[in-house]
Amino acid sequence: MLAWTIYISFFGAAILLLLPKRAASLARCLALLAATSACGIALAAFLRHRTGELFTIVDKPWIASLGIRYHLAADGISLSLVLLTGIVAIAGVLFSWDIDDRTNQFFAFYLLLIGAVYGVFLSYDLFLLFVFYEIVIIPKYFLIANWGSTRREYGAMKLAIYSIVGSAMVLVGLIAAYVAAGSSSMALDKLAGFPFSAHFQMVAFPVVFVGFAILAGLWPFHTWAPTGHVAAPTAASMLLAGVVMKLGAYGCLRVAMTLFPVGLGPWSHPVLGIDSWREVFAALAVIGILYGALVALVQRDFKFVIGYSSVSHMGFILLGLMTLNLMGLSGAIIQMISHGLIGGLLFAVVGRMVYARTHTRELAALGPMNLSSALPFAAVTFVVAGMAGMGLPGFSGFVAELMIVIGAWRAFPVLALAVGFGILIGIVYVWRAMQKAFFAERGHELPPPHPLQPITIPEKIAAALLIASSVAVGLYPQMVLNIIQPALHSLLFAGLRPGGWQ
């Protein structure tokens, strides 16, 4: 049943392409219908499979001569991320309700992207996973280049090139692993169970990990993220921040780390006091957290603030992955969900609620418009989303950061302190942006050049949906942890926990 999330999205995309050009509102409704039904399926599966263990959805031979199978399966981790995708997809459609330039095409690309994302999360065969992973690149490019804003073509091309370079690295690693394991199967468990030589893993791990991590915004390969986010139309940047970056992180965990666990182990000769890839990537993740936050602090463009905040938040995920303990890994997965919801919402506020109405994103220009009284709903939403993003307790971000920092205390105490500093800067940049955009100093209030259209119902519904989800995870994370942790205890991750989780 869960496989229908993919089929519905692709099918919806196909129908949309065939619709007559004038049927814009029909296209919107169809897209909403497709997104909602896919999300409904995801939710049903999420509620049904409460044990979090791996279950197969479809398993059919595909390219029999190469041992490649059409194998979809899900465990707790994929279930949660699929549900996240569903929620963000609905919100994205609602926030794109105002698109009226080639609406059919827009939503067709949108659904294509969504379908491919579902595919990545549900693939068990690595060939299949890679196929979906690459499909994502194309609609992403067109969504940004066609319906984007500032320097859209540049941003889109940069994103496409970074993605393709990342996936090229992944492809090298996957092919090498497939051949080295006897070219008989691409199934995740088969490859993860194959005893690759330590030397092979040492080399293959960083290649595949970085390949995926490029899409997750690992510093210093993050530079596509701010430009891409800024260039993208609202729905695309929501998806980009919400789920596409998660694909990278998911790949790091699901593929790079499970296939080559030995690659995380210590080197034979420490270099500059660093003695494993794990420490290298953890350090890069923390640099990403701090760098993203510091750069967000000095941006003049509202969307760049959020763009860099994504880099910072994704750093938490990568750090959580590198802690290699149950707490840190669970935290990383919750952070994927959390940032998916909150990052999406922040982009929606900036891109749709503010930019689409004011036609400027300059913080200095937004200030005098007195947006907190002109668009009170946008102001409130941004405050809530910003606070959720900075990790205020009660929202999902807090639980995630809490668990990641606990994990980091155990694994890299020094870095945990740096992370604390990063959290602080995070508070400051959100606050600064909020002050400047919505609550600028009074006294020289200018009315906006033209009356601002009030926030529409679809926007309100979408914002409420995302906030509610974030609060639900924040207040009752056990809901997600219940299915994540059995998945982390499964055989698949055995290589990461020699002798059990710490």
Binding site: I63, F127, I137, A145, N146, M157, I164
Partner: protein, 501 residues
Amino acid sequence: MSSIQPTYSQLLSLAIPQMILVGTALLAMSIDLLALRRATLSTRSAATAILGSLGCAAAAAYIAIIHPNGNLLGGVLLGNAFIQLLQIAILALTIAVLLLAAGSTFTRHVGEYVLLILMATVGMLFLVATQDLLVIFVSIELLSLSLYTLAAFNKQSRFSWEAALKYFLFGGMSAAFLLFGFSLLYGLSNSTSLSEIGAHIHGLSPLLAIAIVCVAVGLGFKVAAAPFHFWAPDIYQAAPAPSAAFIASGSKVASFIVFFQLASIGFAGAQGSATWGHFVRGWIPVIALVAALSMVLGNFVAIRQSSVRRLLAYSAVAHAGYMLLALTAHTPQSLAALVYYVVTYSAATIGAFAVLSIVEAQTGSDRIGDLPGLSRREPVLSFCLAIFLLSLAGIPPLAGFFGKFYLFVAALQSSPESMPLLWLVILAIATSAVSLYYYLRVLKASYITTPESSAALTSGRVSGEEIPRVLCVLLAAAVVLLGAWPSLLLRPLLNALPRVF
């Protein structure tokens, strides 16, 4: 020499497809000259092209139904499942090219045009069905001479003529190299049969080294591998679209197959090795270097092109580089990968040329700068173009992706423990990542850039392009289908393979 006496019936059964084609060619020309003298140009070209396609289809049907098997005179003319498959593929590609030519009006000599295409096809069919130096050479010359003429067919265009002359001169020179190489091989082994030659060669002698280099130059020219690619951009740009598509597709299939057989069977005793840092002299390092050079040069020069056709030409150089990877691995899997790759590559290339020919008929230009507006004017065509180019870029689920994947897997599979060719595979994957950039530039122009004049948005349909339009859609469907379900081609291919090795 084989002890089995050839029988004429066997020869007949193996050569019937070629004979059907020759017959069709003559028929087409005579019908054009006799029956269609009053008809309009586009009707003439449509009728002859369809006739030619029917002939090809008949030949393919014969092969598919009768399965002509046999081995004449120790490899002079062969028939087995693998060769049948290749011949069907070549015939299918030829049909595509003929359909592309249907309705075109660049020449008044349509009968001769179809005749030449079919003669070239005959050359290709012989080329893949032989393991004998003499037949190889004669077939190559039949193929090449037809292609030289096809390239020059657009008499209205000075560039077409100039490019064809260039092609002819380079081609003549490379034929000389090839012949010199063949003569050395004959001198070394006293035989023209590839297997005999392979049996006589043990280790690398200076003469053999010269022979290898000469053969590499000759066939490198045919497949447009760097640094023997100089003719390609001009031909791709200036030749009539069907000719260019034909040169880029069918002739590549045949040339790669013969290259593979020459290298893997004929030079079996002088392989050498191309392990990174441990080169051993032999034919493998030569091919590996040519492959590496082609990938890098093709991809990076393609970035700078402003003409879509020239861009396709340089990308063809890059693709030739990938395909040479299969030669360096020279295993059954790599042969299968090569065939899969070259066939799907050809399909995508013909498709791209088909779209371009229609666009050129409308706007008179193939420059990237003149593409804007295409997606609004011709949504179906531009969608097909997107599929072809993304397939060439290797984006799943299109055929080009699986082709690359399988090719790289096959290249590494030759020795899974040490993976001597890993560096080439990494280079190939890295450069193919670069390629997405220039393919996306084309798609960006057609989908994203807003045209400067509104004229680019209005449909300027030219008569006589219905058949190429249908062809585009069919080829796009084939590319998607082969990518999503590679077993369609792969299973018969792998089933046929054991009979070769």
